[in-house]
């Protein structure tokens, strides 16, 4: 701070400048994504927007009313120039108006998104945190004992689980626990006979239904954590301060903490990114276990030709990732002082 006073020129805090840059870039990306979804919805074969407008007129609505009704559904006017449609769409988005759902008539897309989001967040958070804790702990071990039997086993299992696509793991889990050895329910978020609320039956059913999706998330992302932590540990092991700590005769426990705390830094960034990513990556798991989150909403909206809902879901998924990107970068600045001071680290 004194440095700033001496120099006289006001210098912006590097973290704030970083944030400003990211926010601007994020906004540009959101704009690009909204434009893409506008172009796609407008170019769908058969032009559903114009089709809706014409159906309403055939039903005896006046052109003006039909215009307004269609605009409420899709967020933009069915007729008019491309530019008018585009600005109309953007204006509606700025007011967080994503239009109305076609497959559930009379419901705002935003409402549907809100209720789906809670079902996505629950298993995503559970599964990611579970696999993060497990993968990171085992990854430290695999990194330190790289040449041992157990270290080898951990690395190989990590590579295999990391390499296999999510739906393969999900389908195997489904086949094992619902068909071969049917101990858990195959689909849905909760059994219908329970009253929602804080009663034992409802919560038990909730947990039962969430077990398989969470298990699949955890298995599908566990491998990535083990591999990332292992390579991060390998880098830290070569650092001078580890050698110094060994020479000072510090105990194994202290040494372990030194290694783990430094190696985990880059992983926090990946954690923030993957939390954003899983909003989109949950599609397969939610489809397999019929779990009513955002991913299933996207797939169902495409099946039902509900384009306003589809556009809204796509937008939310993408914005989640863009925000996660910004959060990841800021998080890194907070936990790693070398980045915060603006030095070259």
């Amino acid at each position: 701070m004194t440095l700033i006073a001496v120099r006289g020129a006001p210098r912006v805090n590097p973290v704030v400048r970083r944030l400003a840059g990211h926010v601007v870039r994020g906004l540009v990306m959101i704009w690009v994504v909204t434009t893409i979804s506008f172009v796609i919805i407008r170019n769908i074969p058969g032009n559903p927007v114009l089709g809706q407008y014409e159906t309403l007129i055939e039903k005896g609505m006046s052109p003006d009313e039909a215009q307004r009704a269609t605009a409420a559904l899709y967020g933009f006017l069915p007729t008019g120039s491309l530019w008018e449609q585009y600005t109309g769409y953007m204006k509606a988005l700025l007011h967080l108006d994503l239009g109305q759902s076609l497959s559930t008539p009379g419901t705002e897309v935003v409402t549907l998104l809100g209720s789906a989001a809670k079902w996505t967040v629950l298993p995503v958070l559970g599964g990611t945190l579970l696999s993060f804790v497990l993968g990171v702990t085992l990854g430290v071990y695999a990194g330190i004992k790289r040449s041992g039997k157990l270290g080898d086993l951990l690395s190989i299992s990590g590579s295999l689980l990391h390499g296999v696509p999510q739906y393969v793991i999900g389908l195997l889990v489904l086949a094992i626990f619902t068909t071969l050895w049917p101990i858990l329910p195959a689909g849905g978020p909760v059994d219908v006979e329970f009253v929602p609320g804080f009663n034992a039956g409802y919560l038990a059913s909730l947990i039962q239904h969430a077990t398989l999706p969470v298990l699949t998330y955890a298995l599908a992302s566990y491998g990535g954590w083990v591999l990332a932590m292992k390579s991060s540990v390998a880098t830290v092991l070569g650092d001078d301060f580890i050698l110094a700590a060994e020479l000072r005769g510090l105990s194994r426990g202290v040494l372990f903490r030194y290694i783990a705390r430094n190696a985990i830094l880059p992983l926090f960034t990946i954690l923030a990114l993957s939390l954003g990513m899983l909003f989109g990556g949950a599609i397969f798991i939610e489809r397999i276990f019929n779990y009513p989150g955002l991913g299933l909403l996207l797939v169902n909206s495409i099946g039902a030709r509900d384009y306003a809902l589809m556009g809204g879901t796509f937008l939310v998924t993408t914005v989640a990732i863009i925000i996660a990107n910004i959060a990841a970068d800021l998080l890194y600045a907070v936990i790693d002082p070398r980045v915060r001071t603006g030095g070259t680290a």
Partner: protein
């Protein structure tokens, strides 16, 4: 090199090249023989390639179908059982391989070609082009691929494996472009590139004859990985059921096995589900084993002589 010296009239360009090539293949053979698992990898990939090439010709008229044996258990006649209409599952897997592998290849070629060219240009010329290209790759890497594919599938029906591969390729070159760019950035500061520049060689020569060969192994490995990525993506799309089932494909099998007529309610339908999964896992295993072998062939530091 020693071989050339002994050869009568050695030192000619042609014979030196030939002996280099022979040494290369000898090295490949040695690397493959050291770990039997690598020969297995080559065998698996060769098997799938054969399935893709001649698979559909094995069943020219129609697939073997037995209307009296729906969801039959595995037997000699039907090694993986039958599906909901009594069609032989093994035949479905074999004939479905062509679509899956062809898409994978098309995607890999487009991804690698675009990614390499753009990455080389951005890394070698730097400046304004670099900034623009990296912004585009940023965008491409940020927008989630699967949701974008799903949304695109409403406008574009991805008819046939070639179109499918084209879409996946156009959406997937960002990662390779970024990797090639960073390799170029580090290579262009090395001594041999500086020497080439000092000799006044043309940019085309430097990029084509100096930079590209040193990155070729890396690009080749990325290509194999792109094949697996494309296979996962398209099988996944068909599994989700957002594309019209116009042809036989492993993803269509998975979709029908899980969602078609409550197939998963009985254990009898399991072979129908497991057969395409097994095919995907086997093909992945084969490619991973080959990548491991390539790593050692092209990276001499990994060789334990």
């Amino acid at each position: 090199m020693t071989v050339t010296a002994i050869l009568p009239g050695g030192g000619g360009q042609g014979s030196r090249r030939a002996s280099l090539r022979r040494n290369f293949w000898r090295g490949v053979g040695r690397v493959l023989r050291r770990k039997p698992s690598r020969i297995l990898g080559v065998a698996i990939v060769a098997l799938f390639a054969a399935m893709a090439l001649v698979g559909p010709m094995l069943y020219p008229a129609h697939l073997p179908r037995d209307d009296n044996a729906l969801y039959a258990a595995p037997s000699l006649a039907h090694p993986f059982g039958t599906d909901f209409e009594g069609t032989d599952v093994l035949a479905l897997v074999v004939t479905g391989a062509r679509y899956v592998i062809l898409t994978g290849l098309v995607t890999a070629v487009i991804t690698v070609a675009l990614g390499t060219v753009l990455g080389l240009l951005a890394g070698f010329h730097r400046g304004r082009w670099d900034t623009v290209l990296m912004r585009i790759t940023d965008l491409q890497l940020t927008i989630p691929g699967l949701p974008l594919l799903l949304v695109l599938s409403t406008v574009w029906k991805f008819q046939g494996p070639l179109e499918m591969g084209l879409v996946l390729g156009l959406l997937g070159w960002g990662g390779i472009a970024r990797a090639v760019r960073s390799q170029t950035l580090s290579l262009r500061e090395r001594g041999f590139i500086e020497a080439a520049r000092g000799l006044g060689l043309s940019t085309t020569h430097i990029i084509g004859r100096e930079l590209l060969p040193s990155m070729a192994p890396y690009i080749a490995m990325n290509m194999l990985i792109a094949v697996t990525g494309a296979i996962y993506a398209q099988v996944g799309l068909f599994f989700l059921g957002v594309l019209p089932f116009d042809s036989n494909n492993w993803g269509v099998m998975l979709n029908l096995a899980v969602f078609g007529g409550g197939a998963l309610t009985s254990a009898a339908a399991l072979p129908y589900l497991l057969a395409p999964l097994l095919a995907i896992l086997l093909l992945t295993l084969g490619i991973v084993l080959i990548v491991d072998a390539m790593d050692e062939i092209f990276n001499p530091r990994l060789r334990e002589e």
